[in-house]
């Protein structure tokens, strides 16, 4: 890719970016939110059209005008949001659009055989007849890889493939990726997990504010150097937690259970505290968060807010008690993508800003501008639709919503998922500011360093139960992991 440019209203997303991928390598693409990684990859995969520049594949000019054209040229993209048909089986998904058929009838045996060969190619074993929505995320990703290989993809784009995976699953995924590159394909790998890069990557390209800031062999470059190139500023301390003396109790759960997979959970959060919840995927952490936020009703148990029993019956009820919920999947559960930044921030607070049902546009606008300023939300105006913003910016919009709603208990489910190092630090600083101001935060995170670095206290969950409570500053990674795995 040479001299690629892309403009959006008010933002230059890419400014003359060069990028090259060699056969058989894993090329890591690094950059802050809004640095242009996703845009560059969307141009490569045909989702966006470039404004200028050219793309060459195997030395030949490639006209990528549509996702279809990209696929035909051997470019396959594995997005954070997977693009499989959930109701179809593994085999059907792999061969979707290429079903072997005789006189219009699908040859089921040939379909299974072809699917079998392609999953063997990636070195995995899977039940071919299983519906994809019954598979775990990691398995779904492997199906995506098998699908891409079946289509003879030469260029594979993987966007944050490990963000939802456990360590074991990551190991398996990396085995698969190595097999793919050994077969001569090139992989563009987008990730923010620095420790993974040296394990899987060969070269790295850093983008900042839509510009190419450098390409190196990973062996020749230090993590500090990369962070400097990405972040515009030195990010030495990844976890700038300022611990405060905890105040009154804000939130208390007593023996809360829910059918979704929460089993007899009791916990407390006090003013000024960040309480981390660690655990493996499926340990019931998100389910717990949803109960506190009023999204799901508990089957039994009681919830107290500031000493008063409020056991949330609905999100509305929880919000009135001062609870704000930042969901794990902000596009599905957090934002109304077609609406503006302002409308998304205002959604729970309109009642406060309106009289007789009529919203004071002045009040809404001023509040939105205030929070956009304070959280440094990168948007041309508060009227911009959130669908046009990058992932990290969208997360800040959700946070702004709860600050505007005057929530003082924040339930954050994976607050820095898909967010780069620089913006992570910004979010951590925001969390510090919130606890300084007397808020309490319950933070669910799959990243152990984050849990250990930011939490004052830690609860470790396993199979819906609280397995242990630990002191944040003194807990070790091993202790938490052992608990979460049940090896303690």
């Amino acid at each position: 890719m040479r001299g690629v440019c892309k403009r959006f209203p008010g933002v230059v997303a890419l400014d003359r970016v060069d990028f090259d991928l060699r056969a058989g390598e894993v090329h890591v693409l690094l950059g802050e939110n809004g640095a242009g990684k996703s845009t560059l990859m969307k141009i490569l995969s045909g989702a966006y059209r470039k404004d200028a520049g050219e793309i060459l594949i195997s030395g030949r000019h490639a006209a990528i005008e549509s996702p279809r054209a990209a696929q035909a040229l051997g470019v396959a993209t594995i997005y954070q949001e997977l693009s499989l048909v959930p109701q179809l089986s593994v085999a059907e998904n792999i061969l979707l659009g290429h079903e072997p058929a005789r006189a219009g009838w699908i040859d089921r045996r040939a379909l299974r055989d072809a699917a079998q060969r392609s999953i063997e190619d990636v070195g995995i074993t899977l039940d071919l007849d299983r519906r994809v929505d019954r598979l775990g995320l990691a398995e779904q990703q492997m199906v995506e890889l098998a699908k891409a290989l079946f289509r003879r993809a030469r260029v594979l784009v993987m966007d944050e493939p490990t963000s939802a995976l456990t360590t074991r699953e990551i190991d398996r995924l990396f085995d698969v990726v190595r097999r793919v590159t050994a077969n001569g394909a090139g992989v563009v790998y987008i990730s923010h997990r620095l420790q993974e890069l040296s394990r899987i990557g060969d070269r790295v390209t850093v983008l900042r504010d839509g510009r190419h800031t450098g390409t190196f062999a990973l062996a020749d470059v230090s993590i500090d150097q990369l962070v400097c190139l990405m972040a515009n500023r030195d990010v030495r301390d990844h976890f700038p937690r300022r611990r405060a003396v905890p105040g009154d109790e804000l939130l208390r759960l007593e023996h809360v259970s829910a059918v979704s997979g929460v089993d007899d959970v009791s916990l407390t959060v006090r003013r000024g505290e960040i309480v981390g919840v660690a655990g493996l995927l499926g340990a019931g952490r998100t389910e717990l968060a949803r109960v506190i936020a009023g999204a799901d009703r508990p089957a039994s148990g009681r919830v107290f807010v500031k000493g008063r029993e409020v056991t949330p019956k609905s999100p509305r009820h929880a919000i009135r008690a001062g609870i704000g919920f930042l969901p794990e999947d902000r596009k599905r559960h957090g934002l109304v993508l077609q609406l503006s930044v302002q409308a998304n921030i205002g959604l729970p607070s309109l009642q406060r800003w309106s009289r007789g049902g009529v919203v004071s546009q002045r009040a809404e606008h001023d509040e939105a501008r205030r929070w956009v300023g304070e959280l440094r939300i990168k948007t041309p105006t508060v009227g911009e639709r959130v669908v046009r913003l990058s992932g990290g910016t969208q997360q800040k919009v959700v946070l702004a919503r709860w600050l505007a709603a005057q929530a003082d208990i924040l339930v954050m489910d994976e607050p820095t998922r898909g967010v780069d190092v620089g913006a992570k630090v910004e979010i951590y600083e925001l969390m510090n500011g919130l606890t300084d101001a007397g808020a309490g935060i319950l933070m669910i995170s799959s990243e152990l360093p984050e849990v250990l670095g930011m939490s004052d206290r830690i609860y470790v969950m396993r199979r819906g139960r609280i397995e242990a409570e630990m002191d944040g500053p003194s807990a070790t990674e091993q202790q938490v992991l052992q608990c979460a795995l049940g090896w303690a």
Binding site: P315, I319, V336, Q338, A343, S354, H365, G383
Partner: protein, 324 residues
């Protein structure tokens, strides 16, 4: 979006015509008018223009409710039957000697009640809007037929008929009523909490619920709005024709949906404006009127209108794609 001071820079969905995104629809309507003007000299007379708008008013009013429903990600197939049902109730009340305001109130109550039934089952029973309102389409039609024994109710006093036939400063009352409703409905959609939640529910119902919005309540009210709009249309229709037919309003749902989508509102919800819908309704009205003036047979008219709906939405979709 340009040309407005930054301090007045509100949500794109908020301005009446969606910040120029309806440009295609407006251009289409203007183009159509120019074409008809060239073909028939009578088209661009004041009396014909008023005539077109008056005839458009019924569909335009039904389409107001349909806009709320479609922006919220739903659909209301029962509007035509509700026009018939609330119309015959209105007529019967007038015949029974009720004063006009009371009879109109009864018609509005019937529309609201049917809309409420739609909304409650859709919101609480989680029935797809398509199914529920398809059912209501048949139920309300059946109720209208039973209520009148299948016969029309005709002949009303002049004070009631004044709603449709009087003129204020030379402008027929139905046009003024329609404009009034559009102005009010636009303000509701653009400036009130209810309006914002309509967009929220259509754009991402779960995110809206998690933001503490009483989604069930607002969803129900959306269908009540649609029912009431059908009843308002029934009042105008009954007053104009001086008769209420239990078989009135057939295919109104499709005309209303056509007006909404020609106006650039997406059937998948979350966006759309009443300004667009008004243009959509006018486009349909102008087209019908023009084809009549040109002496085109009613069979061919059907065909042409169908094609125009498809082409209009196609062009709008292509324009949007080009922009994004």
């Amino acid at each position: 979006m340009s040309g407005r001071p930054e301090g007045l820079h509100y949500t794109t969905a908020m301005s009446a015509f969606g910040s120029g995104r309806r440009f295609g629809a407006i251009a289409g309507l203007v183009g159509l008018c120019v074409l008809l003007w060239a073909l028939t000299p009578h088209f661009l007379t004041v009396s014909n223009a008023l005539n077109v708008m008056e005839q458009t008013s019924i569909n335009a009013i039904v389409a107001v409710g349909m806009t709320f429903v479609i922006v919220s990600g739903g659909i209301d197939l029962s509007v035509g039957s509700l026009v018939a049902f609330s119309g015959v109730v209105l007529a019967a009340a007038l015949k029974a000697g009720w004063p006009a305001p009371a009879a109109v109130g009864a018609a509005l109550a019937v529309g609201a009640a049917c809309g409420l039934a739609n909304g409650l089952v859709i919101a609480l029973g989680r029935l797809p809007p398509f199914i529920m309102t398809l059912g209501m389409m048949s139920v309300a039609r059946g109720a209208a037929l039973m209520f009148t024994d299948g016969r029309p109710i005709s002949g009303f006093d002049a004070p009631f008929r004044a709603i449709a036939v009087s003129r204020i400063a030379g402008v027929p009352a139905p046009i003024l009523i329609t404009l009034l409703i559009y102005g009010a409905a636009h303000l509701v959609l653009a400036r009130t909490r209810f309006g914002r939640y309509v967009y929220g529910i259509g754009g991402n119902e779960e995110a809206t619920r998690l933001s503490g919005v009483a989604v069930h309540f607002h969803k129900t009210m959306i269908y009540v709005v649609s029912g009431v709009m059908s009843a308002v249309a029934a009042v105008l229709l009954t007053a104009r024709l001086n008769t209420a037919q239990p078989i009135a309003g057939i295919m109104y749902e499709l005309d209303a949906i056509a007006a909404v989508v020609i106006g650039g509102t997406s059937l998948s919800g979350g966006e759309g404006t009443l300004g667009g819908t008004l243009i959509g309704a006018l486009t349909m009205g102008v087209l019908r009127n023009g084809l009549n003036l040109l002496g085109v047979s009613s069979f061919l008219q059907q065909l042409v209108i169908g094609l125009v709906i498809v082409v209009a939405v196609l062009v709008d979709t292509l324009l949007k794609e080009k922009k994004s």
